[in-house]
Assembly symmetry: C2
Homo-oligomer: 217 residues x 2
């Protein structure tokens, strides 16, 4: 499924408006101040198809950790239409290939917390894609330690909002380390470093360009 | 994608032959001795579509934990054709609905260890589907403790073989507890109780019947 033929219109992740306007395969990142006000989180989104979209993380578990969601805001995979299911997972496969290539990985974790009792935080279907490399978590408990890190921070856009506001207040005294990804983040979410809007925007723009290079199916 | 129109032919999970003959939507469970010899693990499989199949587990992490695989034996999601990807995930969605209903669950974990460095044990794409209920893992570390249990036991059919041979040797002194599912299994795989062939056959037959009740998309 190509991302080329896009319908226009807003996209929400849970209750949060994440896009205002789309063009071609990816977003206009130079949104007008009006649109930015309407959609303060649009910088997170790097790819949109007719029925799905993909966004970067505030606190990636490992470099390249991204999310893929259906455009229609429904909580459960069983709520998706067959067409939405097909589009979502073809998008998961395509973005998975891309992040694995771009982040120099050799494997991929794909995980969906489908419903509250499975650990879902935002009631909007989302697949975690996490590029993996050999021994990347040896110091943190081994290969499968990745899963204990999947505890809901991903979609907490309310927290992203709040943390961004705090970041803005600190902006005048920002040090370079605030802008740099911190290697492999700690297991505990609270110890993972929240990235700046600038860093996330840069990554989303880079991933949007990389998706242009990704061959069609 | 319906399971009704099936091509005949053997199906492998990794190097292991898991089916010999199919009819309608599910297997003939009354295989001839010859076919049983050809396919000693066929009792694990409860659903087959033109491009995918589903099987029960020797040591389910929680009741209803099943696997869904493409019929073609390839290690990575990126190796699948678009048609295989579509069939696999429509099958995941359909079987997810069924196990959630049958096991009285309210949510579902869906996880793919896509490649060796993501924790994959058998080099054949497989999605874990694990029905979840509120507080089902509170005594074992909380909702997300499920992931630490996903450490490769699922597809170790070589181990299934070996354990079944041991079970057979103990068959004459089998107690009822060997045949009963042990509530919520321990976190450590080695403490999880291997189920008997009889129990797995019974579950696979039950799930095959339940898939007959599952509405088409």
């Amino acid at each position: 499924m190509s991302g080329a033929a896009l319908s226009k219109g807003p996209i929400f992740f849970g209750p949060f408006l994440v896009t205002s306007q789309v063009c071609g395969r990816h977003l206009f990142f130079s949104l007008t101040p009006f649109l930015v006000r309407m959609s303060p989180l649009s910088f997170l989104v790097f790819y949109i198809t007719p029925l799905s979209f993909a966004l970067v993380n505030l606190k990636p578990i490992l470099p390249g950790h991204v999310l893929v969601s259906p455009r229609r805001c429904v909580p459960r995979v069983a709520d998706l239409t067959p067409a939405e299911t097909v589009d979502l997972f073809l998008t998961v496969r395509r973005i998975g290939r891309m992040v694995e290539r771009v982040f120099g990985a050799s494997s991929l974790n794909i995980a969906i917390q489908d419903g509250l009792d499975a650990g879902q935080s935002v009631p909007h279907v989302h697949a975690h894609l996490i590029p993996r490399r050999g021994a990347d978590l040896d110091a943190r408990g081994g290969t499968d330690a990745i899963y204990s890190m999947l505890d809901g921070d991903e979609g907490d856009l309310g927290r992203i909002h709040r943390e961004m506001e705090s970041e803005e207040k600190r902006a005048t005294k920002m040090t370079p380390s605030n802008h740099r990804r911190s290697g492999f983040p700690a297991v505990d979410n609270d110890r993972r470093v929240a990235r700046s809007e600038g860093e996330m925007t840069h990554e989303a723009e880079m991933l949007a360009r990389e998706m242009e290079k990704e061959p069609e199916d």
